[in-house]
Symmetry: D2
Subunit: 478 residues, 4 copies
């Protein structure tokens, strides 16, 4: 009927294939499950009959899914040890290359250096719904890698193949609405990582009103499972407060009357695709789609958390040598250690100017040990070509936001004509593009401790894995 | 509204993106178009803004499409020379590997040995409809490679990526019928490579009757363009003659009454995907689908040409030492040099037994210089697990078939329960599984000149490129 | 992209039409809104420009939707008084018919007798989404008719047109599952009239497990709104208890292993379509679909409430002359007046045989003043060709079921081969087909008070309005 | 997959239903097929089991489809004679009405006057794909009616039901393009009634170029069969010549650059729906859709034949009393009787001014015996609100156009803002709205023979059957 079921049917059909082509003997592998699965992997790699390949791939993935974490670790170790490149062939290829450096020798060197597990993973994808299992396999691998850095080599092969398979050219952007199938919607509830969705009624409030939108990237092979999604509010002004934006009795407006689209939540869905970035494409494409549908929209802005702020501010408050905070500032901020400070109007009034200035410093001057902007959300949007537009004191009074950022939120502005320039300024020269009102909050007379020069800034590779992004992945927020 | 247009719309939408993100200066590259496109490729490889990546990729592919063959050759030369691995990094990686052979060193060696053009091709796929242009780019490359063997290294990178992108797990099998969109049907007319389709009325005769079927593999990203398709006739017996099968007044039967499904034409569609094999999956999946729909079907068989037969027979006829033909045989076959031999009943009667026996020898005993079965179609079906079922003398009197095979056709039988065994026999031990009636045609007392032993037979790698298959590709037939 | 949105888009597109074609003057109708809407109706009836017709129809329906009940009553009165047949033309037609009785005279009589409001309603359907408003208009009309029987004439015109528009030939049966769009699913929650669905999690339990199904009829023009739906449980035996069937920890089975399909809830959705019956088609078609999908299913049965039982039993308990209950029975049932009787095992044991026998009498012998079976659900299923299969004492302990039926439930069995015979027995001769075990519960020596003879039974017209069915409509249950 | 197959599947599923519910005895009706089918119709009308109703309806329609024209006539006679209203009930209803004139009496009169065949036809629609057979049944009826005017009463019932079923609110407009399923496209070739389509290549030229469009109305129940379609050319000016518009080497333009949309062919598809008009909706909706897609379009115009012109001109040429032609005109037009006049430049030059003036008279002054504009195509477009924009001398040199109109074509202009006014002028006052250049061609000093006054003009009923439109139906042209 719909595309979902079209591909769903295909997959189901494919699922039932192949079994008849190969019947495995009784599963007498209790003694050595790892040895058994290794043998299956070798058979799959050397198999010629592609139908049996399908059955083999399915068998291996089924077994994997029954593994406990300890077995999973052993399996990954096996991939690392036994399914690397063939050493003799590689040695020979190195010799040939040294001898001639011809195209043929280079080609052979590249082929010989490819770990055998790449082809193995490719063939595991033959299994019905194999891609979903492979994605969850990498999710497990990422956890294992924390304690076992050698697994980086295995992860690199997964990441390499996922980069090809989830190439931006293969993704489709689809609106998610109240008439989207429920099995997809329940994933939206589950995957939402920024502003918790408490159930179906709350979801309805985010999808059904005509001044609310949601968009997600899908992959044709994972058509029932979004990869990343963004929630959008259509408003008449740039909001500074998430509670007002989401409250039930907020006074809905007509979509056609909106001037501003607010990206208030972006969530990655597949932990197993960490580092395979789609977020920057997503926002720009949604901007284009919304402009087409609603020509009156002229402002595209986020309402974003500042997850690194509280940590940084605590450190500065404790540092005598802080450049960001004067002694007087530190005194005035002492009240932050009291749990109910935000409920006391006088305290709030006293804290606001200090905290706002400190926030401006946090974005414009503070840098981490790698010389980078500290806030992961800021790095994402600034790297994406947005500019820092406004600082919203006590924009989010939820427990999580109070803990992470003393309630601070910010807006990043996406202005299509400036995106490339902003992006180049940030990625190339490390400059944070910000509204003048924010820049004015940083006293010109204080010296910058961490001068950021374009030439010294190590910049991330644009497409592939990026260590910081990885950390921010699951709870990824604009 | 259908899936086709769903993806079509997506692509169209995507097509128009990105242009606004980057405006290139005036195209003042007349002086050095190659230098200019190389610069663009370098920029694409180093670009950070993904939106500009889309525009850059589109620009490069647009330029490519305006290149004449001579410029195409230069472009490919550039990919070979300038976008290989970085030599210094590779040298360093080799040194590290020699020193430690650690996982990290191996990983770095593999990464360092990867030609930069792989990432370049990956990024070119960002362009709207990029995959289609890349497939046509490889089509051109395959032609260029004939005269320039060094380009094999470039082709290897294309083939590597296409192998990932067109992984079987991503293909969808769809019936092609008279209610398929016309733009896809006109491609069926154009791509048919075995039994020419003379126009829409002939196409209708192959698709609309209830005893005719057609199935094709599609890729989600090339959704309007089939990759490979097979035409099927539903019959009550195994046919020996293509003309009777296709004639207009043939006496249609009810699909539910058919006992036999005849695969009478398989055509690959994309020359640029040569060597990325889907054919064996296709037949087996179609067999499964037809069985499900029509439980009465119990025989699955091809009606196939024998494209290598006439060439082999001519050589045997001229060879005094022929083991396949006696002196008497050669005399009786002398008449084949007369153009109208097949119209003379007495000649036909005399030739039939000799030619049929020779054909049995051709399949069962004759081997090429690599020790392989000569006929490419036979290699495909036998490798696929089918068995040689029947030899049909004068099964196809078309000019092409008379020239290629003196009109000979054969049936290959697909029996699901035997497929794995047959496949292993052929792929593993070089044995041709054939019906007893055919085996009896080869006199036991003549010695086999080319004994085929399982141990000595070089067997092809199962999934990837296979030199013979490549040649048979465009005009690929069951 | 799916059918829903396809038609949705069409409607949306159409919605925005027509407005430009006709601009109405300022709405200066406060003084006489009824006079104004009557004038609009006359204009619509006489309008020639069909684009203006669309705008006019929309305007009239918009005004209607703002009417309060009192204005609605006046509007319906206007339809009755002002939009009946044209009297003069009708008189003339009667004269002509009396004179000649020719086909032409008959035709003119029929045309002349048609109330003008039929054409008016037809033209109101031109408005975007007009059919939905017309259905809700009839819902209001049905309420008004209770106090104003003359409106029957207006209702008859609505029913006549709805009978054409919702002709069985135009309905489509679609499965409703957990991958159905959420906006349709929330209607399932709302419309469920038999066993309350407490929210999305409960809905999920009824749709997502593989041993649960749901099917609904849709009309292409109301594609987002089901007309009627049935919920099905797949089991291994005929259930006697709704709580066990629905409980969360019930022990799910594989669909392929089920032998029995239980229709445990049927709900009509559109009060405005009361009397336009789809229920009997629905069950038979679902039976066919399930058989096709799951060949192991051999039993199709309902688990149904008995909404008329408690009322009848109370009357019998109070009647000295009851034939259904002996004096001893009445004594034993006295305990039913105590609220907690069902929780006392000894009471339950004593009541069970009496109540079960009484229930058998209720179905087999008791008749209402029209000589019909009393229970509306029984009339539906028996009229549909099912047979009464089993009586389930305390099958439903919910408050509602205890009040309506002292917790009694029954199973009706749908055996396809007997459906026509059973149907004819019931509809033609008033015979209730029941399992022998039930028939044996009715003592043969008691005389039947209301002998039901085939010849004397007034039977309902098969397709159209049926007074009893109407009452059972909204809370319609198997 | 797509909507087509969605509904297609539904129908197929339904098709196979019902058979099992009722098995008819051996078809021993050779003796009296009409008596047998009448009995079946009576059974269907009285049937209660709706499943058997489906089987009965299918059986009746199957029998009908085997009838030859003579049996068809008898069948229709039977519907006329035996399935009219019940006489006694009707007589009684007339009496009651005369006595009371109450709403209930009026309702009963209307119900009693309804021919029983209306309900019969409604129930025949239960058969799978019944609507398609009923449409073809009416096609036959329309032919029979020519010789048997009494069948008007039967036709009236079909038309009444079709009017409900094909209500504008149920139709969907869909683009027809080169990616439309081939089975629909072959119907476009077949149904094209204005400018013959010679085959698939010609069809491709009308659908595939980006400056060509086609739109059709579909009914959800006849989803594979268009009801009416219009072909559109996108141009930069108003064309005066059909050959230039259609020629293969015409110099295609970009759709976005077009300023003018030319409706050059409108064809009704279903003869059995004659008189159920969709054409005026079609054009206006296509205008809206095109404007939305291509904002640069500012002119919407037809290029239309003038099918009544040659007949009228011949009569005028032979009439001494012609007001349209002077004696001198008649002399100059004498050459029209010579077959090759249009190939002789001198003749063409001499004829042009006379014929153009005569054409202006034909449209502006000439009227038929009913006082109406003579040309059926003119009546359609003028009634639709278009204005006569330009007269194109020798705009179509095809044999058919030379015979019908001496090659004359005209343009009708659709200007949305004037449509209602133009329509009212024509429909209400009989005024032909024409461009000033055309009005000037009619000499003011000649008296109008047929003065057309708004008050005296009989105007057609807007929606329903219209005798003239019927005639123009099959070959219906803008």
């Amino acid at each position: 009927m719909n595309t979902t079921s079209f591909f769903g049917d295909m997959l189901q059909t494919i699922t039932d294939r192949g079994r008849r082509f190969l019947s495995f003997g009784p599963r007498e592998d209790e003694g050595d499950p790892l040895g058994h699965i290794e043998a299956l992997c070798e058979t799959l790699l050397s198999s010629r009959g592609e139908a049996s390949g399908m059955a083999l791939a399915k068998d291996i993935l089924d077994r994997w899914q029954r593994f406990d974490p300890s077995m999973q670790r052993e399996f990954m170790g096996m991939l690392l040890q036994r399914f690397g490149p063939r050493t003799e062939r590689l040695e020979a290829a190195i010799e040939s290359y040294r001898a001639s450096q011809s195209p043929a020798a280079l080609l052979e060197l590249h082929v010989a250096a490819e770990p055998r597990r790449q082809e193995l993973i490719r063939r595991l994808n033959l299994a019905p719904n194999g891609i979903a299992t492979l994605v969850s396999m990498r999710e497990a691998l990422l956890k294992l890698k924390v304690d076992d850095p050698d697994l980086e080599a295995v992860d690199s092969d997964f990441a390499h193949l996922f980069g090809s398979w989830f190439n931006r050219g293969f993704l489709v952007l689809r609106p998610v609405s109240w008439s989207t199938p429920a099995d997809i919607l329940e994933k939206i509830i589950r995957y939402e990582a920024v502003h918790h969705i408490g159930g179906w009624e709350e979801l309805r409030l985010r999808l059904a009103p005509e001044d609310r939108r949601c968009f997600a990237f899908f992959h044709p092979q994972l058509i029932d499972d979004p990869l990343i999604f963004v929630e959008v509010a259509l408003t008449r002004e740039i909001p500074g407060n998430i509670a007002d934006l989401l409250k039930e009795d907020r006074g809905q407006i007509k979509a056609a009357e909106a001037t501003t689209a607010v990206f208030y939540s972006i969530s990655n869905c597949q932990e197993g695709l960490r580092g395979i970035s789609f977020g920057n494409f997503l926002i720009k494409q949604v901007v284009e789609d919304l402009r087409r549908e609603l020509p009156k929209l002229d402002t595209f802005v986020t309402l974003s958390p500042v997850p690194g702020f509280a940590g940084w501010l605590s450190r500065e408050r404790q540092s005598e040598a802080s450049e960001a905070l004067t002694q007087a500032d530190r005194s005035r901020l002492a009240v932050l250690d009291e749990p109910d400070w935000a409920d006391r109007p006088d305290v709030v009034a006293a804290v606001q100017p200090v905290m706002t200035s400190a926030a401006a410093w946090y974005f414009l001057k503070a840098r981490n040990s790698n010389g980078k902007v500290i806030d992961p959300v800021a790095r994402f949007h600034l790297g994406n070509g947005a500019r820092l537009e406004r600082i919203n004191f006590l924009g989010d009074r939820s427990t999580k936001a109070m803990r992470q950022a003393y309630g601070l939120m910010v807006n990043y502005l996406y202005k299509l004509d400036d995106i490339e320039t902003n992006h180049e300024a940030f990625a190339g020269r490390g400059e944070v593009v910000a509204a003048q009102a924010i820049r004015r909050l940083v006293p010109p007379d204080r010296n910058v401790r961490n001068p950021v020069a374009a030439t010294t800034l190590p910049t991330s590779r644009p497409f592939p894995l990026d260590a910081e992004r990885k950390k921010a992945n699951k709870e990824f927020t604009p």
